[in-house]
Amino acid sequence: MTHLPSRLAKVSARDVNVHYGEKHALKHVDLDIRANEVTALIGPSGCGKSTFLRCINRMNDQIENAHVSGALTLDGQDIYDKGIDVVQLRARVGMVFQKPNPFPKSIFDNVAYGPRIHGLARDQAELDEIVMTSLEKAGLLTEVRDRLDEPGTGLSGGQQQRLCIARAIAVSPELILMDEPCSALDPIATAKVEELIDELRENYTIVIVTHSMQQAARVSQRTAFFHLGELVEVADTEQIFTNPQHPLTQGYITGRFG
């Protein structure tokens, strides 16, 4: 496993371990996430891929008795440093969840939520601008332009998930974490979100956890395969799917287990 020069790595993990109480959920993970690429984390359930994802924006802080050790840096800055403000970290690292979770607010207020709490807009016009661009980037604007004041929970599942992506984009993050963003969506909505991920790559670095290997193959440039809390193999997506080096990876992608 080769490491990239750190100037190319947006996120860099060295010997990252996560314990949930007694359980050793993530073991000695070394992984670099390159800027402006989509990195897919794949592996069977319980392999630690979501755990790793949630380390990057310190979402594991929410979980009681979760303990993270090792070095995890964002642009060379230690994410777990005492001086790091979680609020600012999360403004730089957006997250999209498995189940669409729009707030019980209007579509506009859902997107405006982040900019408002971070004070990103000086006046209403600027806020409008941010919301519109975010919805536009998330490919949702044409569908919701006339009903921005309707509740976000009234949208379809796929629209809700794109609303959540717009909400994440609105804070102008550098990195977007996606935790199985399509697992609750139908194939058409999934296709739209995948298309969106591909477009977003231009301006953002994306890490996506997925159960679907086809999805990993379709949207990502790099793929990391996790198994039982360990990072087994990471390589260019094409290589992982055509010429996996590790027998476990080969077994997983050919469907022998997982």
């Binding site: 403004a91 957006g94 969840f97 804070v171």
Partner: protein
């Protein structure tokens, strides 16, 4: 005692019926229960029900009609001079007859002693015939049902039907009781409104519920304008809500979002103990501790506070209903999906931003429901206001004065000896009806809000 023995014998017969029915079912298929339409135990239950239910019906009918029947028969057999007495006197005589016959009291006259003997023998005959009849019915039912058992008899369906009927009957008891209460309130209120107009009752501003015993009495005319009572009730309930809603909500937020599980496990039950304190204890706490304290504190800063002030009652009532608000709010806040919180944290929101901007709005319908339930509780609360709020029907918005409430007035109107044809007494029913309507409406609104909220996140 004899009734007890009869019941035991019947129960034994029923158990026997179960065993016989079950055995018979197995015998019919020669020990291959899979051929039966219903399991052997269902055949057993079916025979047991045939054995027990008709006999039970006979005994219940006897218990219900025995007194009336005995009354009629004994009175008919009384000597003519006793029968000629007025109804009230006759009732006294009959009472004496019963006491002589059942409790061995000495009889005051030969006629009464004779009637008592008659009463006792009639009672004996009735019981023996009922007992024989019931037991015969039980045995006959058992034999009849047992004889009808065949391979294809659908006893399972029949037993299930009977069980359903029992369950319906059980829930009907509660529903019918409610209906009965409402009807009695309604009828007495209608009688009240024949004496006092609805308009005067609902909108009159003077409350002085007295009725003249003699027409020339001083102050003979009462005033039944209930507005001061409604105002007093709302004032006290309002003060209570002002205390309970913020305290309850804030403690619910703390318990559900901030408190460590260990602390929560101890503190939540402790908070809920407040709901378990008898209201009479709150009442004397309000009357003997809080009210004097407020009066002294008021006079220290030059305010005149009545020794029975709305403020004292409202404050204590507010403490009492804190658990209603906090417990329900805690439940709905906890029910807000974790994914919403994570969504907010994921955007870099702090804990308090997440709570005020995402969690509370999501939980709002449930919180409103809890607050309305607490309000209905506050409006209907009696003991605290009886003890601490006073009886003066002042129409005032000043919480430092004494006011009275609907519930307090109902208590005062009905305590002691009352004639049930005077508007003074009947007014209590009209007040009860208003109270019931208001709290019912609040409960219905609250529950529908809570339910709509629950549907959303399931």
């Amino acid at each position: 005692m004899t009734l007890f023995i009869l019941t035991v014998v019947l129960l034994a017969l029923t158990v026997l019926g179960y065993r016989l029915g079950r055995g018979r079912a197995l015998a019919v298929v020669e020990g291959h229960p899979r051929q039966l339409h219903s399991l052997p135990s269902y055949h057993g239950y079916w025979v047991a029900l045939w054995c027990g239910l008709p006999a039970l019906a006979v005994i219940s009918a006897w218990l219900a009609f025995e007194p009336a029947l005995l009354h009629a028969l004994v009175l008919a057999a009384l000597p003519a001079e006793l029968q000629a007495l007025s109804d009230e006197r006759l009732a006294l005589v009959y009472n004496e007859v019963r006491n002589v016959a059942r409790h061995g009291h000495p009889a005051s006259s030969a006629a009464v002693a004779e009637a008592a003997r008659h009463y006792a023998s009639l009672r004996q005959i009735l019981f023996i015939s009922v007992a024989t009849g019931a037991l015969a019915l039980a045995v006959a039912g058992l034999a009849h049902a047992r004889a009808r058992i065949t391979v294809s008899l659908r006893t399972r369906n029949r037993v299930e039907t009977i069980i359903r009927v029992f369950l319906i009957a059980a829930s009907l008891v509660a529903i019918l009781t409610t209906v009965g209460i409402v009807l009695s309130l309604l009828f007495e209120s209608i009688r009240f409104f024949q004496a006092v107009s609805i308009w005067e009752f609902l909108f009159g501003t003077s409350w002085s519920p007295q009725m003249a015993i003699r027409s020339d009495q001083v102050g003979s005319s009462g005033a039944f304008g209930a507005v001061p009572l409604f105002a007093g009730t709302l004032l006290i309930a309002g003060i209570a809500m002002i205390v309970a809603v913020p305290l309850g909500l804030l403690s619910a937020v703390y318990m559900s979002e901030y408190a460590a599980p260990k602390f929560r496990a101890i503190a939540k039950p402790l908070l809920e103990v407040l709901a378990g304190i008898p209201t009479v204890v709150y009442g004397f706490f309000a009357a003997l501790t809080v009210a004097p304290f407020l009066r002294d504190a008021g006079s220290a800063i030059g305010l005149s506070v009545a020794s029975e002030s709305a403020l004292a009652a409202g404050l204590v009532m507010g403490i009492m209903i804190i658990p209603f608000v906090s417990s329900l709010a805690d439940d709905v806040i906890t029910a807000v999906p974790q994914s919403l919180r994570e969504g907010s944290y994921g955007l870099g929101a702090t804990k308090s931003e997440t709570i005020t901007q995402v969690v509370l709005p999501a939980a709002l319908p449930g919180i409103v429901g809890g607050v309305l339930l607490a309000a209905s509780r506050a409006i209907g609360e009696t003991m605290i206001v009886v003890m601490a709020a006073g009886l003066a029907a002042n129409l005032t918005a000043n919480p430092l004065e004494a006011v009275t409430t609907v519930t307090t007035q109902i208590v005062t109107l009905l305590v002691g000896d009352q004639e049930f044809d005077s508007p003074k007494t009947l007014a209590a029913f009209a007040l009860g009806l208003v109270l019931f309507t208001v709290t019912l409406a609040l409960n219905v609104v609250a529950l529908s809000i809570v339910n709509r909220y629950r549907e959303k996140y399931d």
